[in-house]
């Protein structure tokens, strides 16, 4: 019985992220449009896109290999699993201990690995551009992310997200400079990883500036749907990651009543909305960067992560 309910919660979680992801994307788009005084597409537009794509047949380049066709599913699966391991509305999920924060980062890294490979598979110039830029950004974003993880893990003495969230939800941690830096860094990383402005513009196909779009240029039909969905899930993942680490108080504990779960669920949606709104505002307020200015931007996250880790010792010794 216990196991069943736990399993149920886990399943709900997985389906939830899957369901909520396009919604978040749509929501952000909508808000951006509004801020630009456009009406913009309806919030559920992403669902429509994905469904339409699923219905279409796929056109695969002549010399595309099996990598090209397998990659979308791998990307989707890894991203999904990663997202499923981030506590959204409840901690201590059934399988949460099977992978910690480092593993989640690594899962996203493998998604990126295959995406980059897929970009190079057809052997077009644009695929190469996209992949090489993607790995460049990643080579800065990943270490930054790990250093941020250190900052939090050194406080929580664990890299297990549920544990971190539980600890942070009790005010025992208190306010720390380094955690602030971690938050800032995490936001930057999230922007970079999800290819949002100023790092990349998901809404453009202007060849020389695009990164993510350049890699998926050859994709169509259900493959493209998978990738779009994965992208949406990834955005959701980061948002809920920020949510569960820095606004953990609404999370339901492992053995809390169903009501708590329900409350957590509602509040979770609230969190998504708030953070999505902030993201939209940020994106409209800022301009796209040149590719080779990016290192300064993402490198900033790296610095913040390192600084946060080091300041941790200072603040501890106080």
């Amino acid at each position: 019985m216990e196991l069943i309910s736990a399993l149920l919660v886990q399943m709900m979680q997985m389906l939830l992220v899957l369901a909520a992801a396009p919604l978040l994307t749509g929501f952000v788009r909508k808000v951006k449009a509004r801020l630009l005084r456009r009406r913009g597409p309806p919030i559920i537009q992403p669902y429509r896109d994905i469904l339409r794509l699923l219905k279409k047949e796929v056109v695969v380049a002549d010399n595309a290999s099996w990598i090209f066709r397998v990659a979308p599913y791998v990307i989707f699966a890894t991203t999904w699993v990663a997202a499923a391991l981030v506590p959204t509305f409840a901690t201590g999920l059934l399988f949460s201990w099977s992978a910690d924060l480092i593993a989640i980062i690594a899962l996203l890294a493998s998604a990126r690995f295959f995406l980059a490979l897929a970009g190079m598979d057809v052997g077009t110039a644009f695929g190469g551009i996209g992949s090489s830029r993607e790995v460049m950004i990643a080579s800065l974003a990943e270490p930054a992310m790990l250093l941020i993880v250190f900052t939090m893990a050194l406080v929580a003495r664990s890299t297990q997200l549920s544990v971190v969230a539980d600890l942070f939800s009790t005010f025992g941690v208190g306010l720390r400079v380094s955690l602030g830096m971690a938050l800032l860094g995490l936001i930057i990383v999230a922007i970079a990883e999800n290819g949002r402005i100023p790092v990349d513009n998901p809404a453009t196909h202007l060849e020389l500036t695009m990164v993510h779009e350049a890699m998926v240029l050859e994709y169509s039909g259900r493959h493209l749907a998978m990738i779009e969905l994965a992208a949406a899930v990834k955005l959701l993942l980061y948002v809920s990651l920020i949510g569960c680490i820095f606004l953990p108080w609404t999370l339901a504990g492992p053995d809390s009543p169903t009501a708590a779960h329900l409350a957590g669920f509602i509040l979770y949606l609230g969190k998504l909305a708030a953070l999505g709104f902030m993201l939209a505002v940020f994106e409209t307020a800022i301009a796209k960067m040149r590719v080779f200015r990016l290192p300064d931007f993402v490198g900033g996250a790296l610095m913040l992560g390192l600084l946060g880790t080091l300041l941790l010792f200072v603040s501890r010794s106080l």
Partner: protein
Amino acid sequence: MTSVAFLMLCAAALLGAAALAIACARTHAATSMVYGTTLAITVTAALVSIAVLVGLAAPAGLVLPIGLPWTGAHFRIDALSAFFLAVINVGGAAASLYALGYGEHEDEPHRVLPFFPAFLAGMNLVVLANDAFSYLLSWEFMSLASWALVIAHHHDPENRRAGFVYLIMAGIGTLALLLGFGLLAGADGNYTFEAIRAGTRTPLTAAIVLVLVLIGAGSKAGLVPLHAWLPLAHPAAPSHVSALMSGVMTKVAVYGFVRIVFDLAGPLPWWSGALVLAVGGLSAVLGVLQALMQDDTKRLLAYSTIENIGIVFIGLGLALAFRTNAMEAAAALAMTAALLHVLNHSLFKSLLFFGAGAVLVATGERNMDRLGGLIHRMPVTSFLFLVGCTAISALPPLNGFVSEWLTFQAILLSPDLSQWALKIMVPAIGGLLALAAALAGATFVKMFGIAFLGRPRSNEAATAGEVDRFSLAAMVLLALLCLITGIVPGFFIDAVAPITRQFTGGALPLQASLPWLTIMPAATSESSYNGLLVFLFIAISAMLAVWAIHRFASHAIRRGPAWDCGFPDPSPLTQYSGSSFAQPIRRVFLARTSATHEEVAMPPPGDTRPARFSLAVSDPVWTWLYLPFAGAIEFASLQLNHLQFLTIRRYLSLVFFSLVSLLLVLAIWS
């Protein structure tokens, strides 16, 4: 018969195989015969050593009346040597299996066959040796055999140069170790390890020994800045030997480091750990950066070896730091991470070198920019190579991730260290490690993407064919091992527990007892990772997605020309090349260093010549360390050389002056 005696027999048998190879190197059946023999021997040796490791066979010692007189040759097998013997012999077995096919393509087999078994024997003996003399003898014998293999293709002057540099560095290493042992053994020459262990020495002495060993073992393992020979020598050898050198011989060096520093040297000052950490971190990042810049497949792999050795030494440095602070559990964790990475790297690096060798056989090319599209021509090799790339890029659920995860977990225990320098340093090293991991990912995206994906850039690549069964079998074996180590790491962690118990006083909690084969670094920490579940999750959800889509949505497929924003260019040269792929990272990380030199020859307007872009990537260590030194020696020899061309009268005056000066000394002294 004791385990050690049996393993000595295996080594002797390998030497016998070498003699056999000399005898019949030029006959037709030689190749299959020799490699078959080595395969059989290494497999048995691997089984025995694994048996010792898991405790089925007892550790034992053996003294032979050879070697250094009045000391004799001591050999011993304990958990540590058993572990490394397993690594060596598994790698050796894989290499032999691979060479059963690969070796057939050898032009001058008589330059490879005799030395291959000798090389294996040398590595086995190093790990078995239990006194300084036998250790150094086997060590240098190993270097010598591998040197002969490096210059097996001696017609290429590059290979001869590589062999020369390699031998010099090997000599430096051996002599550094020799000095270290001299310090350990003391004036009255107690060269047996037991005697050295029994001897007492100050932490400073031990630290000097550590530095000497860092030079000695580090030069063999390829630690920065002693790595310069490695990217020259490893690719020069035949591929199965490259795999052994990169995957296994560097591990023998690691063994030497662990044996001397953790076992023999005695108590060390706390900063020794910091030293090792610094060297390790440096090697990890510089190694992978250089790797990313390479366009030669095998050289890229060699540089990535430097990176992985750096990771191993980060683990060892952590273990040292924790041990000097009497944190047994943490030290055990760090050491476990290092040892596990030793195993993993030996697996996937061999796999990758085999792949590179297969490509070499199929296309005769080592330069990526003349490859491409091989995934169509050699599907199996490409798949296995992809497995290797995923593993070495530390991506779950494969094995590379496990050891790096453990290393990170060890780093997270650093706040309990008592020295501030270490407290501050270790997370920074962690950052370097993360950077190295990310760059490794980039490196192998580049390697696989350029060499195997895309469109063929040369005729050879376009007409390549799949390689023989033996090569594939060897690669399949290693790929499977990579997967197994990745999804059930618990067993391997438990296997190395006796080693950590012996050298750090602690050990990880018994992993096999944890539910669902999870691994947990320390009883206290609540972090955990479960490779099996992650693997299953990914598999299931991918299946689910595929099933759902093919069930409910369309599964129609149409082949068409590449879209490429509407401007597809037929020429495969418009694809990204290796150097262009690396260009963004080059600009980010190396733009201000002297390591890279780009130049663009842009023709004037109206000129129809194409613009030419040329790029030179140099290893800074060469320009800043090696060349000046060589120059100094050159200069000195040039100056002294004038003494060869004096007249007899001048020589007489030399005699005269030495006589007078000696008499003067006498007049002044006594």
